[in-house]
């Protein structure tokens, strides 16, 4: 079964952190990437760089910012192949954002991602 872990982060979660603390968190993200079940992933730039596109009646509307105006924003994702939901949940709970004011959404794929 293929899943995406969509990582919602609190952009201010690490505001007061030292460089060492930041590196430790980054190392955790890297370690998850090393799990053999994790087949892909990516870290996104801050939400300030986001643009949102809508097309209505043939007219394209581009707005500055993310789709949903919420405190938590998508900061990255993992792709994984796991036996079942329990295995995916086990990886999801190791994602630092989950304990740092954010959350991880676990979504199964319809077809395996390329």
């Amino acid at each position: 079964m293929h899943y995406a872990l969509l990582i919602y982060t609190d952009p201010h979660a690490q505001d007061g952190d030292t460089d060492e603390e930041r590196e430790a968190v980054t190392a955790e993200y890297m370690a998850i990437r090393e799990d053999p079940r994790v087949t892909g992933g990516g870290h996104l730039q801050p939400v300030a760089t986001a643009s949102t596109v809508r097309v209505a009646d043939g007219t394209t509307l581009v707005t500055d910012g993310p789709f949903a105006d919420t405190k938590e924003v998508i900061g990255g994702y993992y792709l994984l192949e796991a036996d079942d939901l329990d295995a995916a949940l086990e990886i999801a709970q190791r994602v630092p954002a989950a304990r740092m004011g954010g959350a991880v959404e676990v979504r199964p794929f319809v077809f395996p991602p390329h």
Binding site: D83, D86, L89
Partner: protein, 423 residues
Amino acid sequence: MPSRCARSSSRRTDRDLVIDRDPEPALARIFREEWGRVLASLVGYLHDFDLAEDVAQAAFATAAERWPRDGVPDNPAGWLIRTARNDAIDQLRRRRTLRAKLSQLDRPSEVAPMDQELDRQLSGHSIRDERLELLFMCCHPALSQDAQVALTLRAVGGLSTQEIAACFLVAPEAMKRRLSRAKQKITGAAIPFRVPPDHLLPERLGVVLAVIYLVYNQGYAGRVDLATEAIRLGRILLALMPDEREVSGLLALMLAHDARRAARSDGDELVLLQDQDRSLWDAAQLAEARALADRAITGRGPYALQAAIAVLQTDAPVDWPQVAGLYAELADLTGSPVVQLNRAVAVAQAGRPQDALDLVDSLDRDRLDGYQYLHSTRAELLSRLDRRQEAQAAYARALELARDDRERRFLRRRLEELHGSQS
């Protein structure tokens, strides 16, 4: 057979359970007892909840037609499972043929081994009881609690969609959608059909116990049939996990409360525990609760503690200091203000009303202001301490919050008594 929630024969959906049709009482009983086991075996085998349910229903329908004529087979569950499996294999073969004709999407390798597997298993006669796997799947924490409850009653309890809808005062169509969404998530997200490994078991068992207790409490609140159903589920779970002390604890707790059912109300009026007519208690059921509670208490888990309390409260006289001690332990374990309130009542009963009031007043009054029992408990304690005006104010606040008619009448009586004793 225990009565179940209102059954209507006029509106029945096409997918509803055949056991609804009650071919005859003996058969209905077999169907009801075997449903969970048959469905569990089929879900484990087919890994497809919907298909399993479809073929199980068809097998029960066939049995309802044939058994009265040909007699009940020696192993009814085995017969039902084999019949349903044959049906499933036919359906899968037809689907495969159809799909092969329609598209190239399916790699044949995915289907061919399945056929062999099906055939191999079909020839075997041993049928493992997989209801525990089914129960843990239905109570997976990734499902909403509403869905967990509905699925458990449907899959393990064998209630029809209509019956469950009637139990929870939901339109049958809405309940059907709820069940169908839940099944879709089970399949779509690959919620596993298994007993969780040791490191997940305590948490997952907690969910199962919570679901059963929730069903029980729906019954306690008036729908007797659900209480009976919860006890039945508790018995099934205990048979499957005889060593789990919290399972014993939950069953003991439900049995102890249920044993006093007939004494809990007099006509429309609530009767407090100390005023109940003990001859109306079910002595055999209480004895069973006591034995289970004794077995459970070594685990000191929350259900075991509640069961011990429920059983102790049926003694005459009640050992209130011991009850208060158990409540203190339960309050530490759960951090629940409701438990703290109950602890205060026990402390008062043990002859220490001032300590009890201190306990109540140590709770977060702002957060609990909307909780009727905070005010009714304070009122009771204040009136015992002869602080009548404060007691009246607290009863009045409880009355504002009370919704249940019987409770409202009870609170009004207390208020009148206080007024009366003042004049």
